[in-house]
Symmetry: none
Subunit: 427 residues, 2 copies
């Protein structure tokens, strides 16, 4: 009965892409040589894999560790080698800033520095990580004027904890400059230097260095930091900048595939990439980028919005965070939370009309705490999928799956093909 009216069924086929951040991993001695995904109890993921098709994904290209930004660019079907214009832009978009094409956007950290001769020595890159006054601090420096560059508008918006985004708005700016952030690798705040010989890069580096001095001047004399000092807390007396980016030029998913697409995510970066792709960003109470994220709320929001959208991208962050914390047991626990998310999601959808894909933006090693270039597992479950023989969702079992070994940017055309939305090539 199901397939008697294919054209109208096509119109109602739906797809959900669940990205479990940093899901792939190494075999971990503390888990008896299993990866966290192998060690976790995952009845729903295993059933979805057993009833569907599986494979591996080289998100950027084989062996290349993806950054979270470029990884998501690829998973949403864009070629990161053509479309990637720096992380700061995605963070700014995800924070709700309407970027303009000539803006340069940065990720920022409130940090603790101390003057040491002419240098600023970094005492804590994160100002103790707990910075509840972040919104107020951001307001102190948002809109500041630069004496030597009065034509530049400075936009600062706090995102979470010690983090913020900073946007430079003005003419003739370039993202080809180095960070002021030390990345924990050096002692002093870095001078930004131009990374090419263009006038824009030289000008932007110079602006960034002036801006850094202004951040320090304004923040170090603020009442908030006087009080933090009194309370024995590290001062949040500077903003360190990294990841210069410009507005990416993505053709929207609507224009590429004729779909209405939505995003359910906690972190600004993921919302930013989704926004670049023209997706609607759902506001889901309880959906955070932390261990505490409300898996049930996310799953329900994703399932419900299928009434209005053809495609939902659901981001689940804590699997990555556990690996960055080198805590494989926590990663096992978070993978089991992901499994619960999937069981909730399944219960809320019409399984005869809905395709579910589960994969990751990269592997993160619970041993090194770093992103790696190992491919990530993929499952696709849905009504027209060619079932393979894989019955477990893991890095090694998916290596023999029927979907083969794919490149990240090919996943979206495959998913959109299932719902009848990938355009024909030729006639």
């Amino acid at each position: 009965m199901l397939f008697t009216l294919p054209s109208s069924i096509n119109a109602s086929l739906k797809a959900i892409l669940v990205v479990s951040d940093g899901l792939g991993d190494h075999p971990i001695p503390a888990l008896s040589g299993k990866t966290p995904l192998q060690a976790a109890r995952t009845p729903t993921l295993d059933k979805l894999a057993a009833e569907g098709a599986t494979g591996l994904v080289h998100v950027i290209s084989p062996g290349v560790p993806p950054g979270s930004d470029a990884g998501h660019v690829a998973l949403l079907g864009y070629d990161p080698k053509n479309c990637y214009t720096g992380r700061g832009a995605f963070e700014a978009l995800g924070a709700g800033i309407s970027l303009q094409p000539s803006d340069i956007a940065f990720r920022g950290n409130f940090a603790t520095v101390k003057a040491h001769g002419r240098e600023l020595r970094v005492l804590d890159r994160r100002a103790g990580r707990h910075v509840p006054e972040g919104d107020k601090l951001a307001k102190l420096i948002d809109g500041l004027s630069l004496p030597n560059s009065p034509d530049i508008e400075v936009i600062v918006k706090r995102t979470a904890e010690h983090r913020c985004v900073v946007v430079l708005r003005g003419a003739n700016l370039s993202r080809r400059i180095s960070d002021t952030d030390t990345h924990g690798r050096s002692i002093n705040v870095q001078q930004s230097i131009p990374l090419d010989s263009s006038e824009g890069a030289q000008r932007t580096a110079s602006i960034l260095n002036e801006l850094t001095q202004e951040f320090h001047r304004i923040l170090s004399t603020s009442r908030i930091n006087t009080e933090r000092r009194k309370a024995g807390l590290p001062e949040a007396n500077i903003v360190l900048l990294r990841g210069a980016g410009t507005l990416p030029e993505f053709t929207s998913l609507k224009d590429l595939y004729g779909i209405r697409a939505a995003c359910v995510a906690g972190g600004a970066l993921y919302k930013g990439v989704a926004r670049s792709a023209g997706m609607d960003i759902l506001s889901v109470p309880g959906a955070t980028a932390g261990y505490d994220t409300d898996a049930e709320a996310k799953a329900q929001a994703a399932a419900q919005t299928l009434g209005k959208h053809d495609f939902v991208f659901l981001h689940f962050k804590p699997t990555d965070s556990a690996a960055h914390d080198k805590n494989p047991q926590k990663k096992v626990e978070m993978i089991e939370k992901l499994d619960y998310l999937l069981s909730t999601l399944q219960a809320g959808i019409d399984r005869d009309k809905t395709f579910i894909a589960v994969t990751a933006d990269h592997s993160t090693s619970s041993l090194s705490g770093k992103h790696t270039g190992d491919p990530v597992p993929l499952l696709i479950n849905g009504p027209r999928v060619r079932k393979d023989k894989v019955t477990q969702f893991s890095e090694s079992s998916c290596a023999n799956g029927g979907l083969g070994h794919l490149i990240g940017k090919d996943l979206m055309p495959i998913l959109m093909n299932y719902i009848g939305h990938t355009p024909k090539y030729g006639a």
Copy 2:
């Protein structure tokens, strides 16, 4: 003994590529969840797979549904993203027209229209499909003069049933124009519009619109249509045009691989792509693009021509037609006919010196009747093939084959490598 003199043995190795159009499919409920290829009885295909190597082919790229034209361009080893210049050109070449580089070629349908105010309303896009007077009708409009574009030569040639090809010959023409065909999606004959801002596109669209009026003026007053009207048949009183194309610039297979290549096909499109690649087009009585095509005659012609050719491309259309008709049982029947074709072919060749490849230009869903982006199965059988463990020729079994998952344009270098004709890269 066989491999002691590789150069002379290479000279006698041969390859046959059998393309079963639209062979891949979805799992079909009416076939107990099997694909037509899984449901069909295919002893020869299974034996060829069991004794050879198998894989899957993403003909264009993963997830992308190939048109039949672009699919064949890829299977003959050309990158459709660089080499595809519109379907009309292949149809014209396949119909035997010697296209010139500045020509614009179209597929045409004799159709039935009725004037409705200033519009021409389409009553039947195919004029009843049965148009035995097609050759005579084509002659009425072949060579017509356009009052406003007297420099343009108009060539019309009927191909089959209600179908024809139309070529515009003259200076400063462009294929970047829209179709006059309604594609069944609208009521009225479409005005052609330029698809870019070039002078050539504007001029060509304008010529096409004038030509359409002339087609209608000449055909609607013809004696043939008076007689069709009297007989209660729909008039063939216009030609609707689609798929504007220009002569593709292919390096010939001879120049690429140093081979003599031949084509056995029924449909004009496939002959046209083969002709673009510099292949000899064999004339095989009984070889049609229909269900009735003479499988035995095709197989024998292919086997026999190996005395004069190194490579034969054999096209088998009816598997696709059955899927377009949403008739999975018919597709099963046609796959069994394909199996018979292969058994005849095998009997006619020297199996110690001949490689047989079987694959498809795209999947066609017997559920939706449409091309899909799901990969197609591939088998290669021959004396030097690395045998894998796959024993059945199907979409899911070939997913685990030793040839892996390939991109369409890579198949020809692989086949030519088997017969020692893929040039070395480097020294």
